[in-house]
């Protein structure tokens, strides 16, 4: 803090340079106390601004996460028209929430508050990619994700990847429901010997296996900052894939014996994410 050096009683210090050394020392000390206080006042204001920004973003992040979770829950149920509409309005709400975050993430703040928003972005990617998969049976690309969020919001490769991990959990849930809903039985022409999974059922199992092998093929340096989340997510993902594989096996082997409303045995397939 530059400024005129003053003594405790407000006189300019330079005018008093001829004073005895003792008085000089006392006045320097008093001056230093006030200087420190004024410096810290500036710091306080800056830190307050920082905390305000941070809290605003955390709030937005929570809202987006909650909306995304609602979308995902709806998507997991069968998809009548009115639900599609409801989902669409939630996607719009999320997009406008991202827009309200924009003033707080300009310049260096884009990365400064990355962690505050990243959870919401991952959840949103989970919802988006799940919706995308159900409608197109393909994986949404990072480019497509970015197109669905305000341009200045930071969507990192890490967020995208971690969002895809969560997607496998949703695909698992969807697949298990679809398998037990039983299109095996809905294939009336099939005799017991030719019994197999329907094309759609088989598709999701194949896709999950493919995803698993691609995830496992990634190599992430130990110094990378997402390494902590990665091991856990990997385990959950492997568990999900295995559950679907077991479910598919169950349908295939015991399909004809199962009573109506039978659910595949999911025990021993690893932990669920949440």
């Amino acid at each position: 803090m530059a400024g005129t050096k003053r003594t405790w009683d407000g006189k300019q210090l330079s005018l008093q340079s001829n004073n005895s050394s003792k008085k000089d020392q006392t006045s320097t000390m008093a001056e230093q106390s006030t200087q420190i206080l004024s410096i810290f006042e500036t710091f306080r204001n800056e830190l307050d601004e920082h905390h305000d920004r941070r809290e605003r973003l955390i709030k937005i992040s929570r809202d987006i996460t909650a909306l995304s979770k609602k979308i995902i829950r709806k998507l997991n149920a069968p998809l009548p028209e009115n639900i599609t509409k409801e989902t669409q309005s939630r996607f719009t709400q999320i997009q406008s929430l991202f827009t309200t975050a924009l003033p707080d993430i300009t310049g260096p703040n884009k990365w400064r508050y990355q962690r505050q928003l990243s959870g919401a972005i991952q959840e949103y990617i989970e919802a988006l990619s799940f919706h995308h998969y159900l409608t197109t049976q393909t994986l949404i690309t990072l480019h497509e994700v970015r197109a669905k969020i305000a341009a200045d919001v930071l969507v990192t490769e890490e967020d995208y990847l971690l969002g895809l991990f969560d997607l496998t959990g949703e695909m698992m849930r969807f697949a298990v429901t679809a398998l037990s809903a039983g299109s095996v039985a809905s294939d009336p022409g099939a005799s017991e010997k030719k019994m197999g999974l329907s094309k759609e059922q088989n598709g999701i199992v194949v896709d999950l296996r493919e995803l698993r092998s691609l995830f496992e093929g990634l190599s992430v340096a130990r110094r990378h900052n997402m390494i902590k989340d990665l091991a856990k997510k990997m385990e959950v993902m492997q568990g999900s894939v295995e559950k679907v594989e077991r479910a598919a096996y169950g349908i295939l082997v015991r399909g004809s014996e199962r009573p109506a409303g039978w659910m595949p045995d999911l025990s021993g397939g690893g932990d669920e994410g949440y």
């Binding site: 803090m1 530059a2 050096k5 003792k22 000089d24 020392q25 006392t26 320097t28 000390m29 230093q32 106390s33 420190i36 206080l37 410096i39 810290f40 006042e41 710091f43 306080r44 800056e46 830190l47 307050d48 905390h51 941070r54 300009t106 310049g107 260096p108 703040n109 884009k110 990365w111 400064r112 990355q114 049976q137 393909t138 994986l139 690309t141 990072l142 490769e157 995208y160 990847l161 896709d207 493919e210 995803l211 691609l214 995830f215 093929g217 990634l218 190599s219 992430v220 340096a221 110094r223 990378h224 900052n225």
Partner: protein
């Protein structure tokens, strides 16, 4: 249908980032190595009477200047990337350096960088000027010293000074604990102005009161025995 190219491009992004991290890490390691020798030299202040400090400070300044060169290298590289993305790689070492600079300045070194030679510490602007780096950038996304980093460095300095107060007495210097006491009480008052949230700054600054108490105990012991020299005011 899963598109494999998605994962190929993810992998190449991950690799790019790893390369940047490795490069930054290499510089930070050199900075840390120099930092350790700076700290080692400065800790000799605990066993050196204040009138013989000059050679210690000169030696410390030399090491600090070597660290300054590493900071320049770091700045050149870090400026090519978003600041807060990689800030975590170097923040610790930068804080250590700043607290060494502050300690050295308090002991009487680095005089030419102080606004006034009697000042006990360098302001954040003065530190920035010394290291030749910007401070507290708000609009521009470039390498700089943040307020949080500066404040954390001051806290480390306070901890070191409370130790020095004890050791000064052992060296027969009864005036210094009083000076240290009044200085860190000023800083403590400053920290109490801040509205801290539950973060690292809060945790670290909670420790200042123990440093203040440690020094106050020393001053109390000295004044009880009439050992404080008359020329120096008890704060």
């Amino acid at each position: 249908m899963i598109d494999r190219t998605i994962f190929e491009s993810l992998q190449s992004k991950i690799d790019e980032e790893a390369a940047v991290r490795d490069e930054l890490h290499e510089i930070v390691q050199t900075l840390a190595r120099n930092g350790r020798s700076t700290t080692a030299i400065l800790s000799r202040a605990h066993s050196t009477p204040s009138d013989q400090l000059k050679p210690v400070l000169d030696e410390a300044t030399k090491e600090i200047l070597a660290q300054k060169d590493q900071v320049a290298r770091l700045k050149a590289l870090a400026d090519q990337h978003p600041f807060y993305k990689y800030n975590g790689v170097w923040t610790r070492e930068l804080q250590n350096l700043v607290s060494s600079i502050e300690l050295c300045a308090y002991l009487g070194g680095l005089e030419e960088y102080k606004s006034n030679s009697a000042a006990s510490f360098l302001t954040i602007e003065e530190v920035g000027k010394f290291l030749d780096i910007p401070v507290n950038l708000k609009e521009q996304d470039a390498f700089h010293l943040t307020i949080e980093e500066y404040l954390l460095s001051l806290i480390s300095m306070v901890e070191e000074l409370s130790r020095l107060a004890v050791n000064s007495v052992t060296l027969g210097d009864y005036a210094r604990p009083v000076q240290i006491g009044s200085f860190i009480k000023d800083l403590f008052a400053g920290f109490q102005l801040l509205n801290l949230k539950n973060d690292i700054l809060r945790k670290r600054s909670d420790g200042i009161k123990y440093s203040v108490k440690k020094v106050e105990d020393v001053v109390y012991d000295l004044s009880l025995r009439n050992l404080i020299p008359k020329s120096s005011d008890a704060a």
